[in-house]
Symmetry: C2
Subunit: 328 residues, 2 copies
């Protein structure tokens, strides 16, 4: 069986791939060309059944070339993603063609660590600390504790539950917001309709929702106005969850007090965006999943699914095509 | 009964103190003068039985004037500290005079948050992130996760256990080092004699020990040489636990890779110390207990002990005078 991998992903997996019978790997090189057994091949010459959208491709501009290639491959039966969400229209196109899609929960640990780090950095005024050190000043202010704070985690799933687990160990109270079912880690789970009435209780509000018609611009002027002073807003879900103009206006009114943003309506964030230089905004470049642990966990998930696929067994994390087509 | 409090502490506690019968408060003003019921008094005119070394005094240079005052008060029977340690020689002097001493565990939560924040800041290269934002650069490196790391927490007590609880929620493995007994939060507890042989397993080494003859300069050249590359060293215990010259030489050899220091052999850290400007050292000014939550928890502890003292009941956290005199 032929599979399609980025050159970097194939290199990282080479010991494990050598242990699976009858696998031939087509490499997607950094410059977009394709190679097989060291020789350049055209897309007409290859027939991969399975592929992995590895993190090195997903987090680069090459992602568009890669997905465009997938669209042109009639042999393709299954794609393993390295992300949780399939909201990009290209995934709907793949689903329409009958290609099976599996998502990833391997980045949840990294994103949870990112969130805890981003909040602690601000609560402990790390930038001021470093300036005092540079000036050799023996000086500090009282810092804000996570202990005793209330967190509202919106769209609580793998990422939200990993975050809740950590924040609870700090003595925080966690309100999870979820359409159906209960969060195993939140202290209480509420429905989206109840969210606005409870928003004033939250010291930290975290968006981890998928982007769809219901969640688009959920963070609007009314939403931010319902927050209490001092609230820290974190978005690691999707940029489209937030009306960025409304957020900027709300920051100037003081609620939220601070926005820690890893995702944006347009990515990369255009240099013309006022978010870059707003004093109460922290911008990171969709970096929350980019840890040393994420690639290892995703690789393990891909390898497990590859073995299952080769054996004709059920795949882990397979997403329902009708959900993707309906934008859910 | 007369009690002695800093003006700031008395102000913060005034509602609660009003609820305790027959308490007269002598105020230790910011300029070192004493007042009672709004009038200046001399130290000969007062006879406080109880006092609280509140955080505002403990963390300022006024602490020396305050303790000198205590030494001159024959009426004094009990001192509530805001710190865990009684290693300063002045406490031995107070113990010799028969003054009862109670310590505090209220800062443990703050110090644990400080440690987690300090480690995450470095693992996630927060300073680089902020520079990229200032330059409007959509750029980031893969960050290091706490998940899967091994922590060695030396002198694991209240502070160490609060830290262990949080690091474990991140998926870390915790080795606690303790003279006697088992840590309730560590995955395993070892004895000081076993420490050096296990040091090479640790990604993060945290000193939370009290300072005494056994622990003085525990962090020496041999100790740091036993660490593995990449190890992050944290000291929130006492400056005297570390030979600072040996640490500087060890940092230049690469183990530890980074030292996050909140305590120093001389405090405030002299501006002539090379620690201030070493690129792999983070200096904070004994700030790890200085959170918004610590003063509230210490105030609650002092008030509870004050009621117990007034009622002739056993005090919480009373430290054995013979331990202080023996430097244990």
């Amino acid at each position: 069986m032929e599979i399609l991998l980025s050159a970097a992903a194939a290199k990282a997996l080479s010991p494990q791939l050598a242990g699976i019978d009858n696998i031939t790997t087509v490499l997607f090189q950094d410059d977009g060309t394709l190679t097989r057994n060291g020789e350049t091949v055209t897309r007409d010459e290859i027939a991969p059944k399975a592929t992995w959208l590895s993190l090195d491709v997903l987090l680069s501009k090459r992602v568009f070339d890669f997905v465009e290639l997938l669209m042109a491959l009639p042999s393709l039966e299954w794609l393993q993603s390295s992300a949780a969400g399939f909201d990009h229209p290209l995934f709907a196109e793949l689903a329409k063609k009958g290609i099976r899609l599996t998502n990833s929960d391997a980045q949840a640990v990294a994103i949870a660590e990112y969130i805890m780090g981003a909040v602690l950095t601000e609560f402990q005024k790390v930038e001021e600390r470093r300036k005092h050190q540079q000036n050799k000043e023996w000086q500090s202010a009282y810092f804000r504790e996570i202990a005793g704070t209330t967190w509202m985690i919106v769209g609580i799933g793998n990422i939200g539950n990993e975050t809740a687990k950590r924040a609870k160990a700090f003595g925080a109270h966690i309100i999870g917001v979820k359409r159906n079912g209960e969060s195993p880690e939140a202290d209480e789970t509420i429905r989206p309709a109840q969210m606005k009435a409870r928003l004033g209780e939250a010291d930290i509000v975290v968006f981890t929702s998928p982007l769809n018609a219901e969640t688009h611009h959920m963070g609007n002027a009314d939403y931010f106005a319902a927050m209490k002073p001092g609230t820290v807003f974190v978005n690691v879900g999707r940029g489209g969850l937030v009306d960025e103009d409304a957020l900027l206006a709300a920051l100037d009114k003081g609620t939220p007090a601070l926005a820690l943003l890893d995702v944006f309506e347009t990515e990369p964030l255009p240099t013309t965006s006022p978010l870059w230089s707003h004093e109460n905004v922290r911008v990171t470049p969709h970096a929350s999943p980019k840890s040393d642990g994420t690639p290892k966990r995703i690789a393990a998930l891909f390898l497990e699914n590859l073995t299952r696929f080769a054996d004709g067994k059920a795949l882990k994390n397979e997403v329902n095509a009708s959900d993707i087509l309906a934008g859910r």
